[in-house]
Amino acid sequence: MAEVLLSEAERTFIVHGIQDNIRADGRSCEDYRHMELETDVVSNTSGSARIRLANTDILVGVKAELAIPASDRPDEGRIEFFVDCSANATPKFEGRGGEEFATEISNILSRAYDNQGSLNLKDLCVIPKQQCWVLYVDVMVLECGGNVFDVVSFAVKAALHNTRIPNITVHADDNGRTELELSDDPYDCKRVDVHKTPSIVTVSKIGHFHVVDASMEEEACCLARLMLGITEQSTVTAIKKEGSGSLDPESIYDMMETGKRVGQAVNATLYQKLQEEEKLGPNKRKAGFLG
């Protein structure tokens, strides 16, 4: 991740601030920074969203395509993640530099989504054993400004919420052969229910305490962090520990509790904002990339 150089004094200031539940930018330990969210930004995707948090800028596009269901899950669709770390985000991503980081992101996303509860994959099946929808989620890291994992997961959720899958009717003829017919009304489509999809909340341990949504400077002070996939219902769907430092069981427990609390709140707020945006309808002012 992007390197920030900190002096010993700065480091002490940050650690001490967190001890007092007041961070360098005035937040408490469980506060997120402001985010800017816009959906439907790329018209030729099935659904898209862009989130900007501090300097982190993430664009997610979802493409729904027809494919053959996996043989072990014949009546389900799939969701696949692909992350691209643009070299614009940080010079470190140049060449193949971003690949490892990208795989890390997509791995944790796959793990967080890989459970029966979060997405109803059965809904994505068109004809069992023959046709299903595959949601290809493409994540673009446009700029790295800390807390990339969390922001990516929010953007994925928003993009899925924005996704419209064209409705398909299946005709079967006498010989059992099937034919798909596409509805010619562009408004005739189905949605993906994101009410139970997980978001990632990264809880960073700094000193003896932990914070969520660590800034670049805070990340530089952090030796161990826990990434939690958490749904609005406080279900933990994935957990991953990162960093060179070690964590004792007690603090893991504490950090999980914090993660759950924050995760529940942040998921709820995100969902509410998405609903609000949708209510604006097609006539909302678009910010796009120029705004």
């Binding site: 729904a64 005709h171 052969r177």
Partner: protein, 938 residues
């Protein structure tokens, strides 16, 4: 301003694609009206004060139409009275999407300045663009866009805007928006100055508006048909109505190995299919299969409803002894191939009635119900009618009047009819074509003479039918010092004048062939070329493409050479003149020698050809003597064949074969050749059967066998028998076709009739486009001309062959129709007894050929009450009455006359004179004309 148009589509591979198109809105699209001073347009199209008197809308107004009006009421829009119409982009695009011909027609109207039709690009106008709303269908959106544009005009201009639409919902909504909206018929009716427009109104009744019970089963929707075809339940094919029986048809199934022809019988099963349509059919179970009835049925004039079941019952009579054919029924129409039909009005019993029946000239088309108030004026006229629809509850298709061609029986009108019916392009050549012609006076340039072989010293002459002005071949022959003979065939060098890619080339490629009617010639190339510059006229220097052979005295080819040349024909002869010179022992000039040499060689060539199995077939050909004043035929003669005919023919064949070999060697992939497929043995069954009835065996295993058995088939008591047999054999043959050598295996190149492995057309480039292409290929192969990309592209050549084959067939039919027309004119004032021969025996009729006039017709054996004195023996195909038996090939005497009981629809009627059947045959009206048939049957 940018919007995006978003839609999803399914690709062929089955994946679903979301497509986004950027759509820009503008503020600089002008309204196109002269009254407007806001818009910055330079040449406004819509008039300042549109004059169109309508009872509904008395003030000046512009018209806006919806898509269906443009699609279905084009004949109205094309009328010169209808002016100042705004065609919205929405409408134009939908029309383009739905029907290419309609789109072309509306585009043509838009270019006519006097019509003041204006295209308003409403989809790109910032104020009239509408976006599709949730729950709105594409059609509803388009209707809304049309209303939006209409309202915009209404606000923008002081002139009234009238929206014409037949869609009730659209009209209601328009009225709510404050737009004046009418249906087409309301509006057209209100045009008090032009009541005749009402006739051109297309009758569209949807299946929903029921009146009377449904007479036909419903057609399946296209999606269901497609699914059925995929699953094999239905088959797709082109519908070909029978000429002789309106309740019978064949469907030639596309891409099925099991059934290529499926029979359809009975109006229920025919289910409103019209000749030429592409239909979906379902096979009936094998127990219901039937065979074509030998009945000849025509829709009679006063046919009652109850009559039809009777006739259908007749059709259904079980005939166990005849092998049954796959039989099916039409379940849906995939593509209507309706065109405009020529014909006449059937006189109505009620004079004032506006509903009339239209009788098409083409026998395979049903009568069409039309509405017209001009029945009085149209009586006795040939008119053109268009089919609009065929609802389930109507016995006849519904149509509307398009235009009148002229009086029935008038030759110009009748010629027009047969050109239209056979789709022969016969409009005068356009200016762009004429501008491709060389400037007059034309002379051979230095350049030409340098690159060509000068053959002007040779004694070349041409031999053609009398009155021929497009001479495309000339010949010469001279003895060489080494005892061999040099023979030259010189063909007009048309490709010198028609350069590839020019307008004249495209036009010629489209026309494909010159069409010869009895009194008219429709040229493929403008007259300056066909009758002057290309025509190898005598005593004039002309450019030619020459084939020069060195032949041994036994007519074996020793050497052949192709060259572009300059020739000067010494004399143009007719066949008769040439024959006279050959026969005149006193003439010893070079021309006479040359002709005798040619004649001798030709006989040798012919012998060789016959030995290798070439067929001599016959078809009755006739010549009319035309009165120079009235241009009516005054006499008919069958064409005489002389030695010289076959002399010219032999050398043309030789040239064609030599050229075919040459171009195929040089261009194995893209040579344009001509093939004549061997007919399947089943084709011969009727004549084998017919010959058997006279105790003769025909061997049809190979062409050679057939030729031999035809030669041996002679009957002492019937000298015409052999010719008849040859005529019938001709009908068993397949069509000869042009093709591209790269598209077929070499084994299929065979020309069956001529018994040669390879053949092409090289010798008539003035009247056939195929020859022009062959000339170009040959010129490239001898290095006399440059190639061009299309010439060597086999797909292009293949497509061209397809068109040429079609045009040739149509030209043949048109020619035959013209003969028929003149025969009819000839009998207008005559009632004559003639010798005839029975070609086929039908259940209720005899198909008789009258060789003298090359005329074929039906002698119906039933009287008005459908009783026949004859009994029909199906097995032997013989009609018996007492001890009189009439079978195939039998000689009969028939009385030929014109049935004038119906002034509008005169037809040739044949009545039996001999053998005499008391109470049925008519008395002889005089001895058959003394002149006996002479026909070369060798």
């Amino acid at each position: 301003m940018q919007r995006s148009k978003i839609f999803v589509k399914k690709t062929k591979k089955g994946s679903v694609l979301k497509v986004v198109r950027e759509h820009y809105l503008r503020d600089d699209i002008w309204c196109g009206s002269k009254t407007c001073d806001v818009c910055l347009q330079q040449a406004a199209i819509l008039e300042e004060s549109p004059e169109l008197e309508s009872n509904l809308c008395r003030q000046p107004h512009y018209i806006v139409t919806d898509t269906n009006v443009v699609l279905h009421q084009m004949d109205i829009l094309e009328v010169p009275v209808i002016k100042n119409v705004i065609i919205l982009q929405t409408v134009l695009e939908e029309v383009r999407h739905r029907s290419a011909p309609a789109y072309k027609r509306i585009k043509d109207i838009l270019t006519i300045r006097d019509k003041h039709f204006y295209t308003f690009t409403n989809e790109h106008h910032k104020d009239t663009y509408v976006e599709r709303q949730p729950g709105e269908s594409a059609n509803d959106r388009n209707d809304r866009a049309i209303r939006m544009a209409t309202s915009w005009y209404q606000e923008h201009l002081d002139i009234k805007i009238v929206l014409v639409t037949d869609d009730m919902e659209n009209r209601e909504k328009a009225k709510k928006d404050g737009i004046t909206a009418y249906t087409v018929s309301e509006y057209v009716k209100s045009l008090s100055d032009s009541p005749e427009l009402m006739d051109k109104l297309a009758l569209r009744t949807s299946d929903k508006t029921t009146g009377g019970k449904a007479k036909f089963p419903e057609h399946l929707p296209l999606s269901e048909i497609q699914r059925g075809i995929k699953s094999g339940n239905y088959m797709q094919g082109s519908f070909q109505a029978s000429r002789d029986n309106y309740l019978e048809a064949n469907v030639s199934v596309h891409g099925s190995e099991k059934f290529d022809m499926v029979l359809i019988q009975g109006s229920h099963n025919l289910n409103r299919a019209v000749h030429g349509d592409v239909v979906a059919i379902q096979l009936l179970s094998e127990s219901e299969w039937s065979c074509p009835s030998s009945l000849v049925l025509t829709e009679t004039e006063k046919e009652e409803e109850e009559d039809t079941p009777n006739k259908e019952n007749i059709l259904k009579e079980k005939k166990s002894q005849v092998p049954k054919q796959p039989t099916g029924k039409v379940v849906g129409i995939i593509k209507r191939n309706w065109r405009q039909y020529c014909g006449i009005l059937q006189p109505s019993l009620i004079k004032e009635s506006t509903k009339h029946l239209f009788i098409p000239t083409e026998r395979r088309i049903h009568k069409i119900r039309i509405e017209t108030r001009q029945a009085k004026t149209l009586e006795g006229q040939r008119i053109i009618v268009c089919i609009d629809s065929w609802p389930r509850n109507s016995r006849y298709p519904l149509g509307h009047f398009v235009r009148a061609l002229g009086a029935v029986g008038d030759k110009a009108t009748e010629n027009e009819v047969l050109l239209l019916e056979h789709d022969v392009p016969h409009t005068p050549f356009s200016q762009s074509v004429l501008s491709c012609l060389p400037e007059m006076p034309w002379r051979i340039t230095e350049e030409d003479s340098k690159r060509r072989m000068d053959l002007r010293h040779l004694d070349i002459c041409s031999v053609d039918p009398p009155g021929c002005t497009d001479i495309d071949d000339a010949l010469h022959c001279r003895e060489l010092d080494d005892g061999n003979v040099e023979v030259g065939v010189h063909i007009a060098d048309v490709s010198h004048f028609i350069r590839p890619g020019t307008a004249i080339d495209k036009e010629a490629a489209k026309r494909g062939t010159t069409v010869y009617l009895i009194d008219k010639r429709i040229d493929m190339v403008p007259e300056l070329l066909s009758s002057n510059l290309c025509s190898l006229r005598c005593k004039e220097d002309r450019l030619a493409f020459s084939v020069l052979w060195v032949l041994s005295q036994e007519a074996k080819i020793i050497d052949v050479k192709f060259t572009k040349s300059i020739i000067c024909s010494r004399v143009s002869l007719t066949y008769a003149e040439a024959q006279m010179i050959i026969d005149d022992k006193n003439r010893t000039d070079t021309i006479a020698k040359s002709l005798r040499g040619l004649n001798r060689l030709a006989k040798l060539l012919k012998k060789q050809r016959i030995e290798s199995g070439a067929l001599t077939l016959a078809s009755p050909e006739v010549r009319f003597h035309i009165d120079s004043e009235t241009h009516d035929p005054i006499d008919v003669q069958s064409k005489e064949l002389r030695d010289t005919n076959s002399m010219v023919e032999e050398f043309m064949l030789l040239a064609n074969i030599s050229v075919a070999e040459e171009i195929f060697r040089e261009f194995p992939n893209c040579a344009m050749l001509r093939r004549h497929p061997e007919p399947p043995p089943s084709n011969f069954e009727p004549i084998i059967k017919a010959a058997q009835s006279k105790g003769l065996q025909l061997n049809v295993d190979t062409g050679k066998d057939l030729a031999v058995s035809l030669n041996d088939a002679q009957l002492a008591d019937n000298p015409y028998f052999n010719t008849m047999l040859r005529i019938l054999t001709t009908r068993c043959m397949m069509q000869a076709l042009y093709f591209c050598s790269g598209m077929l295996p070499e084994a299929d190149f065979k020309h069956y009739g001529l018994a040669t492995p390879i053949y092409t057309h090289f010798t008539s480039p003035i009247r056939r486009y195929s020859d022009v292409i062959v000339h170009r290929l040959l010129a490239v192969s001898i290095g006399a001309d440059a190639s061009y990309p299309e010439l060597t592209e086999k797909k292009k050549t293949h497509a061209l062959c397809f068109n040429l084959n079609f045009r040739h067939r149509m030209a043949q039919y048109a020619g035959r129709a013209s003969v028929g027309l003149h025969t009819q004119l000839f009998f207008k004032t005559r009632v004559i007894d003639e010798d005839g021969y029975v070609l086929f025996v039908r259940k209720n009729a005899l198909h008789v050929l009258i060789p003298k006039y090359g005329l074929e017709g039906m002698v119906f054996l039933t009287d008005e009450k459908k009783r026949s004195p004859f009994t029909y023996d199906e097995q032997e195909s013989i009609q018996r009455c007492g001890d009189v038996e009439i079978g195939v090939f039998d000689h009969v005497v028939v009385q030929v006359s014109i049935d004038r009981s119906n002034v509008q629809h005169q037809k040739l009627v044949l009545r039996l004179v001999q053998p005499e059947i008391p109470g049925f045959s008519v008395p002889s009206s005089g001895p058959p004309s003394a002149k006996k048939m002479k026909m070369d049957t060798s």
